[in-house]
């Protein structure tokens, strides 16, 4: 069990409002870590801090350290763009680039970051779409607009787009909350598939979803991390009274 991401005493603010309070947690390699908690508990802010997306909001700031392997991604000499290339992200609402074709949507990240020696863009696009379980549905219309797909397909296109730049960690911020149950099922199957090759952190407010796909779960409440551990333990024998209350539906 190798630790991939190590969050150390981390806090995040929007202006004067503190959204994440002194959180320390670990993300295990090739495992799905779910962050659950009621609305406004700071779980989305936390995941956006993991690839330095939080600081793109005006007035946002952070303290503490987050280590990817041995490197502090918040160190001065680190370029946030480089962090985001290594730690990819899928957002709550599918956001394919509307003026680009399906093919371009997947290829654009590689074009921005530069193609590695000995690889072809065609191969990368096909491989990414296959990994996102979208290839068979779109292979005949790669040059149609990305916006012509259904919501569930768009989200898988966004996953393919994130995978194309070959990140080491994949962050997913409520990836299914805008989707119907069938599309949700497909994405969940995909996540279980992807964890063989990737380390995944996902935010969800659907506890069943966390129970279905996540090996580890962290419970957030009012900006604090209440409890973090194997999903089975969190859901059956939580250590903290607040976790138990939330899991059993007494609040939130």
């Amino acid at each position: 069990m190798q630790i991939r991401l190590q969050v150390e005493d981390f806090s995040a603010w929007y202006g004067q409002t503190q959204a994440v309070k002194n959180v320390s947690m670990q993300v295990v390699q090739n495992e799905v870590t779910a962050i659950i908690g009621p609305s406004g508990c700071g779980k989305s802010t936390m995941i956006r801090c993991l690839n330095r997306m939080h600081e793109t909001v005006p007035g946002a700031r952070t303290t503490g350290r987050i280590l990817l392997d041995e490197t502090d991604i918040y160190a001065d000499r680190i370029d946030p763009a480089e962090v985001r290339r290594k730690i990819g992200m899928v957002f709550q609402k599918p956001n394919p680039f509307p003026t680009m074709s399906i093919w371009q949507n997947v290829a654009v990240g590689v074009q921005i970051n530069g193609l590695r020696q000995g690889t072809s863009l065609e191969e990368i696009v096909e491989k990414s779409l296959r990994m996102a379980a979208l290839w068979d549905e779109v292979k005949d219309r790669l040059h149609h607009s990305g916006a012509s797909l259904s919501g569930g397909q768009q989200q898988r296109l966004c996953i393919a787009r994130a995978l194309a730049v070959e990140p080491e960690v994949l962050l997913m911020d409520e990836p299914c909350s805008a989707l119907d149950p069938l599309s949700t099922l497909k994405i969940e199957e995909l996540i279980s598939e992807l964890k063989n090759n990737y380390t995944i952190v996902m935010v969800t407010h659907n506890m069943q979803q966390a129970a279905r796909v996540a090996g580890n779960t962290a419970f957030f409440l009012q900006g604090e991390m209440v409890e973090c551990g194997p999903t089975a333990e969190i859901f059956t024998t939580p250590k903290d009274k607040r976790t138990e209350d939330y899991i059993t539906g007494r609040f939130g």
Binding site: A81, F91, N95, T99
Partner: protein, 303 residues
């Protein structure tokens, strides 16, 4: 749809949703209002189209009489002689508008990008404020300002001064439409691009600008159309010329100035040429915007 008040909670849901007979009067009223408002909207559109269509028809009808081969190949004849054309003014207008676009559109788009994507605080506020003020400045004042700076400094009227005057008029229009169009691009697209490891400027260039390209092209063409017909600023800067274009540091003929001078003369022949010039000016603007749209569609494949 207004739901009837539930009198009996035990009533089946479907029955409650169905329109009850008591609603018939209300229903008819709603339909009548719908028809009337729809009719009013169509009528208003028609009324708005009347002046537009009549200008087009009138200019075309009057102008066609002056359009012939000579119009596009000959220089103007001295007053009193018949025949001749306005070839120099057609070329002059294309040069002036081209020069103004070459100066005004890139600068305006860059300024718009600054305001939308990078500008924060006082400087952005100031630029935005100045743009709004500049949009409201009467074009003749722009002409006088350019006369006071470029024309007096160069000690001559010139095509360059004319182009600058037109560019100054275009600049705030292009800046503000670019800013507005870029602001319409959803933030989620910027985030998607940043999350792929793209830098801020790369995101702006490959994603934001690209998504807004259609609107920016349309806005730029509106600015082109606006300055193509400007006469007043040219009177102080490019003036006019009876001869072929010889250089950007020389006076240059233009269609609007010829329309203005010819329409003011008592000669039937010159009036005819002025109508012809009006038709050509209109067509140039139309062709330019169609070409720009086609180019935009080809380059960006959107809308």
């Amino acid at each position: 749809m207004s739901m009837p008040k539930t009198k009996n909670a035990a009533e089946p849901l479907l029955k409650r949703l169905a329109l009850s007979p008591g609603n018939k009067g209300q229903n008819r009223r709603r339909k009548v209002i719908d028809r009337v408002m729809g009719g009013l909207a169509v009528a208003a559109t028609m009324i708005a189209l009347v002046p537009l269509a009549s200008i087009l028809i009138y200019v075309t009808a009057k102008g066609m009489a002056a359009i012939n081969w000579d119009f596009f190949t000959q220089l103007p004849k001295p007053v009193g002689e018949t025949g001749g054309g306005l070839a120099n003014a057609v070329i002059g207008s294309v040069i002036l508008v081209g020069l103004a676009s070459a100066l005004g559109i890139p600068l305006g788009i860059l300024a718009g990008i600054y305001l939308s994507e990078f500008g924060r605080g006082r400087l952005a506020w100031l630029v935005r404020f100045l743009c709004d003020v500049m949009t409201g400045i009467p074009s003749i004042i722009v002409g006088i300002a350019v006369y006071g700076t470029i024309v007096l400094a160069m000690k001559r009227y010139s095509a360059f001064a004319g182009g600058v005057a037109l560019a100054v008029i275009m600049l705030p229009l292009v800046t503000r439409t670019t800013e507005e169009m870029l602001r319409l691009v959803p933030n989620s697209l910027r985030e998607a691009s940043l999350a792929l490891g793209a830098s801020h400027w790369r995101t702006t260039l490959s994603v934001v600008l690209r998504s807004a390209a259609g609107g920016i092209i349309t806005g730029s063409m509106l600015a082109v159309a606006r300055v193509a017909g400007e006469t007043a600023p040219l009177l102080f800067t490019a003036l006019s010329s009876r001869y072929w274009h010889t250089g950007l540091d020389q006076r240059i003929a233009s269609l609007p100035v010829y329309i203005f001078t010819y329409a003011g003369t008592p000669y039937e022949e010159l009036h005819r040429l002025a109508w012809g010039a009006a038709l050509v000016l209109l067509s140039l603007v139309l062709v330019a915007s169609i070409l720009a749209r086609l180019a935009g569609r080809k380059a960006y494949g959107g809308r």
